[in-house]
């Protein structure tokens, strides 16, 4: 456990052993073969998605299910985009504030819990942590009534609130673990200079937290973007995020139009995939801190 937790909250490079030199051995060739086989298996859904999304309606015969399209058409892509783009815009409006606010709250909490040891600090931390493991089904009914009672409108505003509140545990965890590794002397020096806690936070701690902020922002961005559970309970197809719109698109019609829904699935996944490709190290950082979370 410890090995992983200590890494939490910073970008992670899993490292790489020096590439081997010399001739191919039987063992190594075998290893490559197995690895390549797994690559093929993992990429099967990607092939299916791309091929199906470029097929026209006349190309849906089951006998040709795995074949390339007879005629390549972008009609599905156009339909999917016009259906999903309003929901994608709403998802952006929801995810950006949700990620920013929860990163800020998490950073405050993490700082306090890592530095100021008040009696019961550990217990408070564990109690907060438990909040990220609970199945949200166990609060959903009264949560619905509470959000309604508070007068928060269904859709984007409700979802921002929920992602912020239920993001507190994981963001606190990531920042706390990161701040644990900040040298105590740095904080002490500021205190000796007479800086209060807030000023220490603003001038010393915040500037060195950039990597953790990226990790947390990416984590919150990804989980809010991919969320379906809150979406289905707190929004409708008129005001909901892209997961809900995609699910309605794919499951709505009696006759499933796989071409359109597969193109839609790619549109819905593109932002998180881009983040993964471009900021992989930070993405990993969030994943690893997940080792005391889910």
């Amino acid at each position: 456990m410890t090995a992983v937790v200590e890494e939490a909250g910073r970008p992670i490079d899993l490292g790489r052993r020096a590439a081997p030199r010399g001739r191919f051995t039987v063992g190594r060739t075998l290893r490559y073969l197995v690895l390549l086989l797994f690559v093929l298996v993992v990429l099967v859904p990607v092939y299916v998605l791309l091929v199906t999304s470029f097929k026209g309606p006349g190309d849906a015969a089951p006998t040709r299910a795995w074949n390339l399209p007879r005629v390549w058409t972008t009609a599905n892509w156009e339909t999917a985009w016009s259906t999903l783009s309003p929901a994608i815009a709403r998802t952006v409006q929801m995810v950006v504030p949700a990620a920013l606010i929860s990163a800020f709250l998490g950073s405050l909490n993490g700082f306090v819990l890592s530095r100021w040891r008040f009696p019961g600090a550990d217990l408070v931390f564990t109690l907060i942590l438990f909040g990220m493991f609970i199945p949200y089904q166990a609060v959903m009914i009264p949560l619905n009534q509470l959000v309604l009672g508070l007068g928060v409108p269904s859709g984007v505003p409700s979802l921002i609130l929920l992602h912020v509140v239920y993001g507190i545990p994981i963001t606190t965890l990531i920042f706390r673990n990161y701040y644990m590794t900040v040298p105590q002397e740095l904080i002490e020096a500021a205190r000796v200079d007479g800086a209060g806690m807030l000023r220490t936070y603003a001038w010393i701690v915040l500037p060195i937290s950039v990597p953790s902020f990226v990790v947390v922002l990416i984590w919150q961005f990804t989980s809010a973007w991919n969320d379906f559970l809150f979406a289905v309970f707190f929004s409708s197809s008129q005001n909901g995020p892209v997961t809900l719109a995609l699910n309605n698109l794919a499951n709505g019609a009696l006759l499933q139009d796989y071409g359109v829904s597969m193109a839609g699935a790619l549109f819905a996944s593109l932002p998180t995939l881009l983040v993964y490709v471009l900021l992989g190290r930070y993405f990993m950082g969030g994943l690893m801190s997940g080792s005391v979370k889910g």
Partner: protein, 310 residues
């Protein structure tokens, strides 16, 4: 007199020292207190009422307490027992699948290898995709049609001469839920691989060298040196995957339908009850899920908490 003043000053200092951090924490503490713990209690209270109709849900008809009746009814019903059986099946397959494949990938990638980054990125990418999006593709793959009508994986099996492998996937009443575990394994094996790989990389090279110098065979090296070092990571992976599995919902909604008997699990039941304005039963299912998850998570949190202290 002097001691009293000093004591008062001491108290004031203690309050000030604890006060500032508490003030900063307060917004989050209140939010977590209300939204997690307060609502867990509120939910448990609703689960002990006869709030089963739309009129009651909207407050137009009164509700009365029924104690644990809803729980007894649920746990006694064949329908809900089927959900629990499905949950166990799904969890076992999901856990075994991700642990075996994740470990195998990490093990294959641990030794020096050209193109390691490429393999790693491919294996891990499904993790960045939502269950809803991957469910679209997997529903196509897990199409239950067979023979002439076959599409998806069943068609692929025919094409490579493995006709015998054709089956009706998630439409099988008793083990259909296992088919839903396949995409889940596809999505999270890479995550388990990353955990194990970080574990492998965390083991000091000297430890391996020392074992080799001592003449330990490859198997002994793993058995006595590497496995013990990896076991905390294996535990983390089990906990994370296990508790994700207990909350399974998105994939089932995306591939199957909430009303489908063969793929229902407690999280889906909860949604169905809620949609039918049966708030009492929805709340009861939620609390049952919470208890199941807590049985797994609480000992783990206590355990890591103790380790942190050491």
């Amino acid at each position: 007199m002097a001691t009293a003043t000093r004591r008062r000053a001491g108290v004031r200092r203690a309050v000030r020292r604890a006060g500032a951090p508490l003030l900063l924490l307060l917004p989050s503490l209140i939010l977590v207190g209300v939204f997690v713990y307060g609502l867990i209690v509120a939910n448990a209270r609703q689960s002990a009422t006869d709030n089963h109709t739309a009129a009651q849900a909207t407050g137009q008809a009164p509700t009365t307490g029924v104690g644990l009746r809803n729980y007894l009814d649920l746990l006694g019903s064949e329908e809900f027992q089927h959900s629990l059986t499905n949950l166990v099946l799904y969890t076992v397959v999901f856990l075994v699948g991700t642990m075996v494949i994740g470990f195998l990938w990490a093990w294959l990638l641990d030794k020096p290898l050209r193109g390691e980054g490429f393999f790693r990125s491919i294996y891990l990418f499904p993790m960045a995709v939502s269950f809803i999006a991957s469910g679209v593709v997997w529903r196509w793959l897990l199409n239950s049609n067979q023979d002439e009508q076959a599409s998806g994986l069943n068609r692929l099996f025919q094409m490579i001469g493995l006709d015998a492998l054709q089956n009706n996937w998630w439409n099988n009443v008793s083990v259909g839920i296992v088919a839903i575990a396949i995409p889940a394994i596809w999505q999270l094996s890479g995550y388990v691989m990353a955990l194990f790989l970080a574990g492998f990389r965390g083991i000091p090279v000297e430890l391996r060298e020392a074992a080799r110098v001592d003449g330990a065979s490859e198997w002994k090296l793993y058995r006595h040196v590497l496995f013990p070092q990896l076991s905390p990571i294996a535990l983390s992976a089990l906990i994370i995957i296990g508790h994700m599995s207990l909350k399974a919902f998105d994939l089932i909604m995306s591939i199957s339908k909430p009303a489908n008997y063969q793929t229902k699990v407690p999280a889906v039941d909860m949604y169905v009850f809620k949609s039918a304005f049966d708030y009492a039963n929805a709340a009861a299912v939620g609390t049952i899920l919470l208890v199941i998850v807590a049985i797994v998570i609480v000992p783990y949190l206590v355990h890591t908490h103790r380790q942190d202290k050491r």
